[in-house]
Protein backbone atom coordinates (compact mmCIF):
# COMPACT_ATOMS: atom_id res chain seq x y z
CA UNK A 1 0.00 0.00 0.00
CA UNK A 2 1.25 3.49 -0.87
CA UNK A 3 1.11 6.34 1.62
CA UNK A 4 1.82 10.03 1.70
CA UNK A 5 4.34 11.22 4.23
CA UNK A 6 3.47 13.66 6.99
CA UNK A 7 5.93 16.57 6.80
CA UNK A 8 7.10 15.96 10.35
CA UNK A 9 7.62 12.29 9.59
CA UNK A 10 9.54 13.10 6.43
CA UNK A 11 11.86 15.33 8.46
CA UNK A 12 12.42 12.54 10.97
CA UNK A 13 13.08 9.98 8.23
CA UNK A 14 15.55 12.31 6.52
CA UNK A 15 17.40 12.81 9.80
CA UNK A 16 17.49 9.02 10.27
CA UNK A 17 18.85 8.44 6.77
CA UNK A 18 21.51 11.10 7.28
CA UNK A 19 22.48 9.57 10.62
CA UNK A 20 23.63 6.52 8.64
CA UNK A 21 25.72 8.53 6.17
CA UNK A 22 25.67 11.85 4.33
CA UNK A 23 23.97 12.03 0.95
CA UNK A 24 22.64 14.29 -1.78
CA UNK A 25 18.96 14.80 -2.53
CA UNK A 26 18.55 12.22 -5.26
CA UNK A 27 20.43 9.57 -3.27
CA UNK A 28 18.28 10.29 -0.22
CA UNK A 29 15.10 9.78 -2.25
CA UNK A 30 16.43 6.44 -3.50
CA UNK A 31 17.40 5.38 0.02
CA UNK A 32 14.02 6.46 1.37
CA UNK A 33 12.29 4.35 -1.26
CA UNK A 34 14.54 1.40 -0.61
CA UNK A 35 14.33 1.53 3.21
CA UNK A 36 10.53 1.83 3.15
CA UNK A 37 10.12 -0.81 0.43
CA UNK A 38 8.46 1.86 -1.68
CA UNK A 39 5.70 2.44 0.88
CA UNK A 40 5.71 6.22 0.55
CA UNK A 41 4.34 7.80 -2.55
CA UNK A 42 5.44 11.40 -2.48
CA UNK A 43 6.63 13.74 -5.22
CA UNK A 44 10.42 13.55 -5.19
CA UNK A 45 10.66 17.33 -5.09
CA UNK A 46 9.17 17.30 -1.59
CA UNK A 47 12.56 16.46 -0.19
CA UNK A 48 14.21 19.77 -1.11
CA UNK A 49 12.03 22.17 0.90
CA UNK A 50 12.30 19.70 3.80
CA UNK A 51 16.10 19.67 3.58
CA UNK A 52 16.20 23.47 3.34
CA UNK A 53 14.10 23.75 6.49
CA UNK A 54 16.25 21.25 8.35
CA UNK A 55 19.34 23.17 7.32
CA UNK A 56 17.79 26.51 8.35
CA UNK A 57 17.07 24.95 11.75
CA UNK A 58 20.69 23.84 12.04
CA UNK A 59 19.81 20.14 12.09
CA UNK A 60 21.68 19.33 8.88
CA UNK A 61 24.59 20.98 7.10
CA UNK A 62 25.40 20.88 3.41
CA UNK A 63 28.22 21.62 1.05
CA UNK A 64 29.08 21.08 -2.59
CA UNK A 65 31.12 17.95 -3.22
CA UNK A 66 32.16 16.06 -6.32
CA UNK A 67 30.36 12.71 -6.32
CA UNK A 68 30.98 10.27 -9.19
CA UNK A 69 32.58 13.05 -11.19
CA UNK A 70 29.69 15.49 -10.75
CA UNK A 71 29.16 18.34 -8.32
CA UNK A 72 26.51 17.53 -5.75
CA UNK A 73 25.04 19.28 -2.72
CA UNK A 74 25.72 16.75 0.01
CA UNK A 75 23.84 16.91 3.32
CA UNK A 76 25.07 15.61 6.65
CA UNK A 77 23.67 15.49 10.15
CA UNK A 78 24.84 18.07 12.69
CA UNK A 79 25.20 17.52 16.43
CA UNK A 80 21.89 19.31 16.96
CA UNK A 81 20.38 17.06 14.28
CA UNK A 82 21.53 13.93 16.14
CA UNK A 83 19.98 15.19 19.36
CA UNK A 84 16.75 16.09 17.55
CA UNK A 85 16.63 12.64 15.94
CA UNK A 86 16.98 10.98 19.35
CA UNK A 87 14.17 13.16 20.68
CA UNK A 88 11.87 12.45 17.75
CA UNK A 89 12.63 8.72 17.83
CA UNK A 90 11.67 8.63 21.48
CA UNK A 91 8.45 10.55 20.85
CA UNK A 92 7.60 8.33 17.89
CA UNK A 93 8.17 5.15 19.90
CA UNK A 94 5.99 6.48 22.73
CA UNK A 95 3.27 7.32 20.22
CA UNK A 96 3.57 3.96 18.48
CA UNK A 97 3.35 2.07 21.79
CA UNK A 98 0.28 4.10 22.78
CA UNK A 99 -1.51 3.40 19.49
CA UNK A 100 -0.48 -0.25 19.60
CA UNK A 101 -1.80 -0.52 23.12
CA UNK A 102 -5.18 0.80 22.03
CA UNK A 103 -5.30 -1.41 18.96
CA UNK A 104 -4.23 -4.42 21.00
CA UNK A 105 -6.93 -3.76 23.59
CA UNK A 106 -9.69 -3.40 21.02
Amino acid sequence: MKHGAHPGHLDMMLLALLSERPGHGYALIRRLGSASAGAFELPEGTIYPALQCLEADGLVASRWEVVAGRRRRVYSLTGAGSAELRRRRGAWQDYWRAVDGVLGAA
Partner: protein, 211 residues
Protein backbone atom coordinates in the same frame (compact mmCIF):
# COMPACT_ATOMS: atom_id res chain seq x y z
CA UNK B 1 6.85 27.48 -27.85
CA UNK B 2 7.42 23.82 -27.01
CA UNK B 3 10.72 23.09 -25.29
CA UNK B 4 12.79 20.35 -26.95
CA UNK B 5 13.89 19.10 -23.55
CA UNK B 6 11.29 18.31 -20.89
CA UNK B 7 13.92 18.97 -18.21
CA UNK B 8 14.74 22.40 -19.62
CA UNK B 9 11.03 23.15 -19.80
CA UNK B 10 10.52 22.03 -16.21
CA UNK B 11 13.43 24.10 -14.91
CA UNK B 12 12.22 27.15 -16.81
CA UNK B 13 8.76 26.71 -15.30
CA UNK B 14 10.26 26.31 -11.83
CA UNK B 15 12.37 29.44 -12.22
CA UNK B 16 9.43 31.49 -13.41
CA UNK B 17 7.30 30.17 -10.55
CA UNK B 18 10.01 31.08 -8.05
CA UNK B 19 10.06 34.62 -9.37
CA UNK B 20 13.05 36.89 -9.47
CA UNK B 21 15.42 38.25 -8.37
CA UNK B 22 16.42 35.00 -6.79
CA UNK B 23 18.62 34.71 -3.75
CA UNK B 24 21.57 32.43 -3.30
CA UNK B 25 19.48 29.68 -1.71
CA UNK B 26 16.94 29.72 -4.53
CA UNK B 27 19.68 29.41 -7.14
CA UNK B 28 21.16 26.57 -5.15
CA UNK B 29 17.81 24.78 -5.00
CA UNK B 30 17.40 25.13 -8.77
CA UNK B 31 20.88 23.71 -9.26
CA UNK B 32 20.12 20.78 -6.96
CA UNK B 33 16.85 20.05 -8.71
CA UNK B 34 18.61 20.24 -12.07
CA UNK B 35 21.13 17.68 -10.81
CA UNK B 36 18.30 15.54 -9.49
CA UNK B 37 16.56 15.52 -12.86
CA UNK B 38 19.79 14.69 -14.66
CA UNK B 39 20.40 11.75 -12.32
CA UNK B 40 16.86 10.47 -12.56
CA UNK B 41 16.84 10.78 -16.33
CA UNK B 42 20.20 9.03 -16.64
CA UNK B 43 18.92 6.19 -14.47
CA UNK B 44 15.81 5.76 -16.58
CA UNK B 45 17.80 5.88 -19.80
CA UNK B 46 20.12 3.21 -18.42
CA UNK B 47 17.00 1.08 -17.96
CA UNK B 48 16.19 1.46 -21.62
CA UNK B 49 13.90 4.50 -21.79
CA UNK B 50 14.43 6.88 -24.70
CA UNK B 51 15.89 10.23 -23.63
CA UNK B 52 12.78 12.35 -24.02
CA UNK B 53 10.61 9.77 -22.30
CA UNK B 54 13.14 9.43 -19.47
CA UNK B 55 13.26 13.20 -18.97
CA UNK B 56 9.48 13.45 -18.98
CA UNK B 57 9.19 10.69 -16.38
CA UNK B 58 11.92 12.26 -14.21
CA UNK B 59 9.98 15.56 -14.21
CA UNK B 60 6.73 13.77 -13.42
CA UNK B 61 8.29 12.03 -10.43
CA UNK B 62 9.64 15.31 -9.10
CA UNK B 63 6.11 16.73 -9.00
CA UNK B 64 4.42 19.84 -10.32
CA UNK B 65 6.91 22.70 -10.76
CA UNK B 66 4.49 25.31 -9.47
CA UNK B 67 3.76 23.29 -6.35
CA UNK B 68 7.45 22.69 -5.77
CA UNK B 69 8.15 26.43 -6.08
CA UNK B 70 5.31 27.12 -3.64
CA UNK B 71 6.75 24.58 -1.21
CA UNK B 72 10.16 26.18 -1.46
CA UNK B 73 8.60 29.58 -0.85
CA UNK B 74 6.47 28.26 2.00
CA UNK B 75 9.56 26.83 3.63
CA UNK B 76 10.26 30.50 4.42
CA UNK B 77 13.84 29.95 3.39
CA UNK B 78 14.02 30.43 -0.36
CA UNK B 79 11.97 33.53 -0.90
CA UNK B 80 12.31 34.88 2.59
CA UNK B 81 8.65 35.90 2.71
CA UNK B 82 9.57 39.55 2.49
CA UNK B 83 6.29 41.42 2.96
CA UNK B 84 5.20 43.69 0.14
CA UNK B 85 5.12 46.72 2.45
CA UNK B 86 8.79 46.11 3.18
CA UNK B 87 9.79 45.17 -0.36
CA UNK B 88 8.51 48.40 -1.93
CA UNK B 89 10.52 50.85 0.22
CA UNK B 90 13.57 48.59 0.08
CA UNK B 91 13.51 48.51 -3.70
CA UNK B 92 12.79 52.22 -3.87
CA UNK B 93 15.67 52.94 -1.48
CA UNK B 94 18.01 50.70 -3.41
CA UNK B 95 17.14 52.31 -6.74
CA UNK B 96 17.45 55.81 -5.32
CA UNK B 97 20.78 55.14 -3.64
CA UNK B 98 22.25 53.66 -6.81
CA UNK B 99 20.86 56.49 -8.91
CA UNK B 100 22.27 59.00 -6.41
CA UNK B 101 25.65 57.32 -6.55
CA UNK B 102 25.63 57.46 -10.34
CA UNK B 103 24.60 61.13 -10.17
CA UNK B 104 27.41 61.95 -7.72
CA UNK B 105 29.95 60.34 -10.00
CA UNK B 106 28.66 62.22 -13.02
CA UNK B 107 28.59 65.51 -11.13
CA UNK B 108 32.09 65.06 -9.76
CA UNK B 109 33.38 64.49 -13.28
CA UNK B 110 31.71 67.72 -14.37
CA UNK B 111 32.66 69.99 -11.49
CA UNK B 112 36.00 68.60 -10.44
CA UNK B 113 37.37 67.05 -7.29
CA UNK B 114 36.67 69.51 -4.50
CA UNK B 115 36.91 68.18 -0.97
CA UNK B 116 33.13 68.23 -0.51
CA UNK B 117 32.65 66.22 -3.66
CA UNK B 118 35.31 63.78 -2.52
CA UNK B 119 33.43 63.17 0.71
CA UNK B 120 30.14 62.83 -1.10
CA UNK B 121 31.61 60.34 -3.53
CA UNK B 122 33.11 58.32 -0.73
CA UNK B 123 29.70 58.14 0.92
CA UNK B 124 28.04 57.36 -2.40
CA UNK B 125 30.44 54.52 -3.07
CA UNK B 126 29.92 53.06 0.38
CA UNK B 127 26.17 53.29 -0.07
CA UNK B 128 26.40 51.71 -3.49
CA UNK B 129 28.55 48.83 -2.33
CA UNK B 130 26.16 48.27 0.57
CA UNK B 131 23.21 48.45 -1.83
CA UNK B 132 24.77 45.88 -4.15
CA UNK B 133 25.53 43.65 -1.17
CA UNK B 134 21.92 44.02 0.00
CA UNK B 135 20.70 43.34 -3.50
CA UNK B 136 22.70 40.13 -3.43
CA UNK B 137 21.20 39.01 -0.16
CA UNK B 138 17.62 40.16 -0.48
CA UNK B 139 15.10 37.74 -1.88
CA UNK B 140 11.79 38.89 -3.21
CA UNK B 141 8.53 37.16 -3.93
CA UNK B 142 6.88 39.73 -6.16
CA UNK B 143 7.88 39.41 -9.81
CA UNK B 144 6.51 42.82 -10.86
CA UNK B 145 8.27 44.78 -8.12
CA UNK B 146 11.41 42.73 -8.51
CA UNK B 147 11.39 43.29 -12.27
CA UNK B 148 11.13 47.06 -11.88
CA UNK B 149 13.87 47.08 -9.26
CA UNK B 150 16.02 44.86 -11.41
CA UNK B 151 15.68 47.20 -14.36
CA UNK B 152 16.50 50.24 -12.18
CA UNK B 153 19.48 48.52 -10.62
CA UNK B 154 20.70 47.39 -14.04
CA UNK B 155 20.54 50.89 -15.47
CA UNK B 156 22.26 52.37 -12.40
CA UNK B 157 24.98 49.73 -12.54
CA UNK B 158 25.46 50.39 -16.26
CA UNK B 159 25.74 54.11 -15.56
CA UNK B 160 28.31 53.45 -12.87
CA UNK B 161 30.37 51.16 -15.08
CA UNK B 162 30.31 53.74 -17.86
CA UNK B 163 31.07 56.50 -15.35
CA UNK B 164 34.07 54.56 -14.06
CA UNK B 165 35.45 54.12 -17.55
CA UNK B 166 34.83 57.83 -18.20
CA UNK B 167 36.70 58.73 -15.03
CA UNK B 168 39.62 56.58 -16.05
CA UNK B 169 39.75 58.31 -19.42
CA UNK B 170 39.57 61.69 -17.70
CA UNK B 171 42.38 60.71 -15.38
CA UNK B 172 44.43 59.67 -18.40
CA UNK B 173 43.73 62.98 -20.15
CA UNK B 174 44.63 65.12 -17.13
CA UNK B 175 47.49 62.85 -16.19
CA UNK B 176 50.02 65.07 -17.98
CA UNK B 177 50.54 66.84 -14.65
CA UNK B 178 51.38 65.09 -11.43
CA UNK B 179 50.02 64.91 -7.92
CA UNK B 180 47.24 63.40 -5.91
CA UNK B 181 44.50 64.46 -8.29
CA UNK B 182 45.26 61.91 -11.00
CA UNK B 183 45.97 59.18 -8.47
CA UNK B 184 42.68 59.90 -6.76
CA UNK B 185 40.81 59.80 -10.04
CA UNK B 186 42.36 56.49 -11.03
CA UNK B 187 41.47 54.89 -7.70
CA UNK B 188 37.96 56.26 -7.83
CA UNK B 189 37.52 55.21 -11.44
CA UNK B 190 38.57 51.68 -10.57
CA UNK B 191 36.18 51.57 -7.61
CA UNK B 192 33.28 52.97 -9.56
CA UNK B 193 33.84 50.73 -12.58
CA UNK B 194 34.29 47.65 -10.39
CA UNK B 195 31.11 48.48 -8.49
CA UNK B 196 29.22 49.06 -11.72
CA UNK B 197 30.40 45.86 -13.36
CA UNK B 198 29.77 43.97 -10.12
CA UNK B 199 26.23 45.33 -10.10
CA UNK B 200 25.76 44.32 -13.72
CA UNK B 201 26.98 40.84 -12.89
CA UNK B 202 24.48 40.56 -10.05
CA UNK B 203 21.66 41.80 -12.27
CA UNK B 204 22.61 39.38 -15.02
CA UNK B 205 22.53 36.42 -12.64
CA UNK B 206 19.07 37.39 -11.51
CA UNK B 207 17.57 37.71 -14.98
CA UNK B 208 14.87 35.14 -15.71
CA UNK B 209 15.32 32.60 -18.45
CA UNK B 210 13.24 33.19 -21.54
CA UNK B 211 10.11 31.08 -21.66
Amino acid sequence: MVSASPIAGYLGELERALGYPRGRRARRAIREISDHLADASAGLQASGSPRIEAEREACKRLGDAGELAASLAASNVIVGELPLRLAVPLWAGLGLSMAAAALFVTMSVLVGAGSGIVALNAVALIVTVAAVASFWRLQFASGAIAGAGLAAAGLAALAMAAGGIGLALLAYVVGAGSGDFEYYLFVRAALVAATGFGGLGVVRRQMPRPA
